[in-house]
Symmetry: C2
Subunit: 601 residues, 2 copies
């Protein structure tokens, strides 16, 4: 099995050289950090990833969680990892000091998450889910909710979850039916069903704390009537002991991949004794949830990027060792076979993987830095970062997720028949990554979000900022020897994207909203390619500055490999925008006119 699942050198290059996360240190919030502590934290993450998580990667897939009738049995390593995460301060690392946190920048934290997720994606999600849930309580919950729940959760002893989805309310959260009835004791009676709840129940935590959307009786229909509740599996009784809160685990689904983490079906209030505790104000539940959504969606993109990284390194190792075939001009079958990495088509498949996940990683770090900047700036400056972050989020979530399928599939292809065998590590990566275009909002939903909301918000303010950022990169690259043509290619691509966007906005202006949005998924795909091309240009610019002439051979190989990968992206991936733009500019409503009955046969 491959031993390497990410590149420390590339991760640091992306953090420090491309996105200059050290710039964040000048802000008070991050003043306790420096480059040295950043590196130490990355080292710690690497040790946890290599030493503890990676060795469990295959085992957790092969022995997937099972429903016991009352809970879900997961690998005992989960408890150990949750404890490690709690003790190491990973769960609340990013929280502000007043919430007991370490004020770690998200850019750095996500770099660690990238390491964890590439080591073992399933295992990596347990503490992250707790982080999200605890953060909601700290930000919007009462002091007693913080004391009773959040403080326990960050120790890693209690699991947190985000309980949104119901059997009849997946993409359509406005149809959430779980009900909450106010009771004299200040709590609410909760009744309903939830499904697909990640880590929604398991036997490796002392308690499970659900941050749950429910509808207070009499609240408005739709999303405007959703409130947020803390709904624990066990609630603290007056005695101080924990008592069962009538949150019943009704089963778990078995999954194609991502099998180390269970998704539970839950049934609340079967004996009318499920208590929920309101977080913040009534009917603002979705608002609270969505304030976390950017980060949750960056997480999905990051997870997909990490899985693709691990698949790449496994396939790279194989292609270096596997001897098969000979050079095209070598006719003598008695000469020894060559490592397959010397075949052009194998190099193409490796370059494609690298172009996808290293480009994605750069975008992930960029997005993380934007989150950090929104926490340390104010006024107009902050608004710019927020707009850009909001705009990029659907792309950040989707490009790595959708292209992760292609990337991990190429890893399989590099191994041929062995790649298809479970005895080799790569097929699991393709199964694992397939969840990402689905959870936290499907690709279709992200497309509508990008085109229907983000492009149009504040009269296109985000589009303007986005294009300015791209233009800045183009201007800089145009002056760097060897990057002129990439700069020019990106300028053309940005112009094509802008044309396409205006063409679509022209449809919206005529009020034909369904036609405007019909191919939003393709628009998202087009935008993703443009974004990653931009991120590759930023990497090229950064490279040109690190080349001091005194670089080691290893540095030179890294630098050359990067430039080849940049050129690969511009030569092989970027041209895909032409087909997409052609379609988008010819919007004819084909999918609107197609009727369900025409699918009859």
């Amino acid at each position: 099995m491959a031993e390497k699942f990410f590149s420390e050198k590339n991760l640091k290059f992306t953090l420090y050289d491309v996105h200059k996360v050290e710039d964040l240190l000048k802000h008070d919030r991050f003043g306790d950090y420096n480059r040295e502590s950043f590196d130490m934290i990355l080292d710690t993450a690497k040790n946890i990833g290599s030493g503890f998580m990676y060795p469990l990667y295959s085992e957790m897939d092969k022995n997937a969680p099972e429903y016991t009738g009352t809970t879900i049995k997961v690998n005992p390593a989960v408890r150990q990892y949750m404890n490690t995460s709690g003790e190491g301060g990973w769960i609340n690392a990013m929280f502000p000091a007043e919430h007991g946190g370490q004020q770690m920048p998200l850019s750095l934290f996500n770099a660690c998450m990238f390491i964890f997720a590439s080591a073992n994606y399933s295992l990596s999600v347990y503490p992250g889910l707790t982080t999200g849930a605890a953060s909601l309580i700290y930000n919007y919950g009462s002091e007693s909710l913080i004391k009773d729940y959040a403080e326990k959760m960050v120790t890693g002893k209690w699991q947190g979850t985000m309980a949104l989805t119901e059997p009849e309310a997946g993409s359509s959260l406005s149809d959430v039916k779980t009900s909450a009835e106010p009771m004299p004791g200040g709590y609410f009676h909760i009744k309903g069903q939830k499904t697909f709840i990640s880590a929604g129940d398991h036997d490796n935590a002392d308690n499970i704390i659900h941050l749950m959307l429910a509808r207070v009786k009499g609240a408005p229909a739709g999303v405007k009537g959703l409130s947020l509740f803390v709904v624990p599996k066990y609630r603290p009784a007056d005695s101080g002991e924990l008592e069962f809160n009538d949150v019943n685990c009704a089963g778990c689904y078995h999954k194609m991949g991502y099998r180390g983490a269970p998704i539970a079906q839950l049934s609340m209030g079967e004996v009318d004794d499920c208590r929920g505790y309101l977080v913040g104000e009534q009917n603002l539940g979705l608002t609270y949830m969505f304030r976390m959504m950017n980060e949750a969606r960056i997480n999905v993109g990051l997870g997909a990027t990490a899985i693709s990284s691990a698949a790449y390194y496994a396939s790279l190792e194989y292609t270096r060792e596997r001897l098969q075939g000979r050079k095209i001009d070598e006719k003598n079958p008695l000469n020894t076979q060559i490592p397959i990495i010397e075949h052009a088509d194998i190099k193409r498949m490796l370059l494609q993987q690298r172009a996808i996940f290293e480009g994605s990683l750069s975008l992930m770090v960029y997005a993380g830095k934007l989150v950090d900047l929104t926490t340390v700036t104010e006024g107009e400056e902050r608004e710019i970062y927020e707009l850009l972050l909001d705009f990029l989020t659907p792309i950040v979530k989707t490009y790595p997720s959708e292209m992760g399928i292609t990337s991990t599939s190429q890893a399989i292809q590099c191994l041929g028949g062995y790649g298809y065998s479970s005895e080799f590590p790569v097929e699991q990566y393709m199964r694992d990554v397939r969840i990402h275009p689905i959870h936290e909002g499907t690709t279709g939903i992200q497309g509508m979000d990008l085109l229907g909301r983000k492009v149009t918000m504040k009269k296109g303010a985000a589009v303007k900022i986005f294009l300015e950022e791209i233009q800045n990169a183009i201007d800089e690259a145009a002056g760097i020897s060897g990057m002129e043509s990439s700069a020019s290619d990106l300028a053309n691509a940005a112009a094509l994207w802008k044309d396409t966007t205006y063409s679509l906005l022209g449809i919206a202006a005529k009020g034909e909203i369904d036609l405007f949005l019909a191919d939003a998924t393709l628009y998202l795909e087009l935008s993703g390619i443009l974004c990653i091309a931009w991120q590759w240009l930023l990497q090229g610019i950064a490279l040109s500055k690190t080349d001091s002439g005194e670089n080691s051979d290893s540095d030179k190989n890294f630098s050359k490999g990067k430039m080849f990968t940049l050129n690969y992206f511009y030569q092989y991936e970027l041209p895909k925008i032409h087909g997409l733009a052609l379609r988008l500019k010819n919007s004819d409503g084909l999918t609107l006119k197609m009727k369900p009955e025409f699918f009859e046969d």
Copy 2:
């Protein structure tokens, strides 16, 4: 679980209306058949598929074959299916009468195989492997080999295999090392290892007969020294009893999908008692094998097409039943949710699946008919069919295989979280289809075959014929109301393909063969899209002739659905050629210049 896995109406439309397989009946070889018997055979296949195979589809995945230490335990249904196949005459259906066969046209047989493979791909391969092996014996083996082996195999009691691959010889068959030493008794001592042998050993056949490539001692190195042998697991002893032939099953791989059929590792001659019986002449082994290769590769494309068909119908059923969300202009959350098939993006995902697999099916039937025509024609006419078939084979194998990943992935996406769950049928299809870009020659190998051999053979004769066939379709479609613009789009696409081809041939003319072939995989992808666009035009032409004005509502819906799917292909899939052609015309040898050490970090 979905009950429909293919469309009888579409299959018959493709056979009879698009490709007019009834035209074959005028040839003596097929003179015993008529439309009525064709339909009866299809009905029988449908009954076997629906009644027996489909219900086992999920079970055979969940309870995969296991190595027992000496053989591989498979589902007991395998024996039953092999017997059914033998008794029903399916194994030797296409063989000529003098070989005991029914002279069934491949076009019809493949239509049945499409039904079987969409019902249960893993189960469908067992008799097909026997067919291939028995066919080799009938065509090139001695009378005694026919009597001792082939005649047993076609009963379904004995399993046949194609044993080519070795641990060090996968894509590179010239490195096959299994040795054969001539012995006084007229047989050869066989010694060596084989791996990835489909159905290479299992407990549901009375004997396993390997058609095995091995190298006679002293034979030339490379592929020119390979001979073909019958190597049975049990050989008939002088007593008439069967005795063990020292063919040892050393294990099986566990696979990502396609789990109902085992791939075995074999070890021959562990106690120096493995006998092989030469088929035909020494050193012609690969030649014999490759005469079957076109059909084997059509089979792979057909399997991928079939799996995509089954995934489509499962996702179609779900999207009709699942209520989620509302129309874009519907603001009232109290109104009931709509079936998701009414959302434009869902229709797009359904149309993409249908465009891929119905386009592929048309190409499969076309290729099958070409095979049939080569068996009933002679001289120049036959050469035209052979050239076209040889040319199309890498495309026929690859387009459905590679695009089957996309197609089945869209089926998952239509089901959202349920699609990712093993409790629903679609995730298995994506796992099952992933084998197809690998087995019977990887996509990379197919690309080199298309560009390096097929484009250039006989001074480009096949290219000329291919373009003429496309032009014929364009000319006909140009005169049909409603198809003019598709005809024109295909003309432009064919021109672009031709330009690209000439541009690449210009590189070859300069002797830069490695540069010429560097992006052969992309050229294959481009060619695949062109081919499927052509097949869709042929379907449109056929539709225009079936529209009698007296069609039933069901016929009208079918016809409208087809036209929408055709237009989908032209609007969404065909434009992808621009990006590919752009890259191919700018061949700069990027993947040739990229050195293995640049992948260091």
